[in-house]
Symmetry: C2
Subunit: 187 residues, 2 copies
């Protein structure tokens, strides 16, 4: 009996994130999580009453961590290429060596059939990352003769390229593909 609350809850979140990124939301069960962590499925319900609750919390944690790694846009890189490089680097390390999808990318792909609060959290990832990009880019020389709309479109297209790149890298079993895509980001 380990009887270590924080540890178990964290382990469940970790494993849930990893399994959702691998198999999608519908490809993960309470029993998978329980057996992976070494408890019974009822104990998973103890921490996360419903699957929706678990999914939303995993997504929120992922997004918080992602934005934390990006840092404060007011205190970040000041050239467009460095900003893009930072975002790109985060996606590359998220994909990892074993081709893990972006959690919110796979949730977004499945979103039409997911519980409301999970979709809300997935949406929030894109809102927040795209806001980080927009704010960061706005401070650069590159943005001087560009409209707010152009900057937002650039942020969104960078995100789209990276998410799509992950998908293709994954199905091709070729994590290096995402690296290949980097030159397409800087312009």
């Amino acid at each position: 009996m380990s009887r270590n609350a924080a540890e178990t809850e964290g382990k469940i979140l970790d494993l849930a994130e990893s399994l959702i990124r691998k198999n999608g939301y519908n490809g993960v069960s309470f029993r998978d999580l329980a057996s992976g962590v070494g408890v019974k499925s009822s104990s998973v319900h103890y921490y996360f009453p419903t699957k929706e609750d678990l999914g939303a919390k995993v997504a929120r944690r992922y997004t918080d961590r992602f934005l934390n790694a990006l840092g404060d846009p007011q205190d970040g890189p000041v050239t467009a290429s460095e900003i893009v490089k930072k975002l790109h680097g985060l996606f590359v390390s998220a994909l990892g060596s074993d081709g893990q999808m972006c959690l919110c990318g796979i949730l977004a792909a499945e979103s039409a059939g997911l519980p409301e609060s999970v979709v809300t959290e997935a949406k929030s990832f894109f809102d927040r990352v795209s806001e980080w990009m927009t704010l960061s880019l706005s401070r650069t020389e590159w943005a001087r003769n560009r409209s707010e709309e152009e900057i937002k479109a650039e942020a969104l297209s960078a995100l789209a390229l990276l998410e799509g790149g992950m998908i293709i890298a994954r199905v091709r079993n070729d994590p290096a593909l995402l690296t290949t895509l980097r030159p397409q980001l800087a312009r």
Copy 2:
């Protein structure tokens, strides 16, 4: 008793495609398909012995239809912007007004947990579309002073941008987003 083989099989494929695009592979069951088509689940097994078999056939059909719509690259548009426009248009109509994902996009996102033959078919979509793009672009003025590698990278990044754009359009419930992304394709 309708007793109309071709019709039933086609209806199953149509519905399976639509449901997978909405909910993902793991979000579709034989019973969903059966009740939607108006038969029993055992009849779905009659046409498609296993779910893997069904998934692979749905993916193959989708890819064939997609490439057919793209047409013969030897007999298609000869400018880079028209080529890009054609591909973009197909993705826009695939997304539709109700935000349906690209079938092979969602399968690729889930691919780590899917049966082998389904993954093979999903991969084939990207191989074939990217080959269409590469062949098409190679015939253009734009390609004159570019290497094979550069052209392939361009094809892949266009595909990535469109797949990622669909994902984001979908989670934002904003099909117009994909249209916004078009200028980012032409360069």
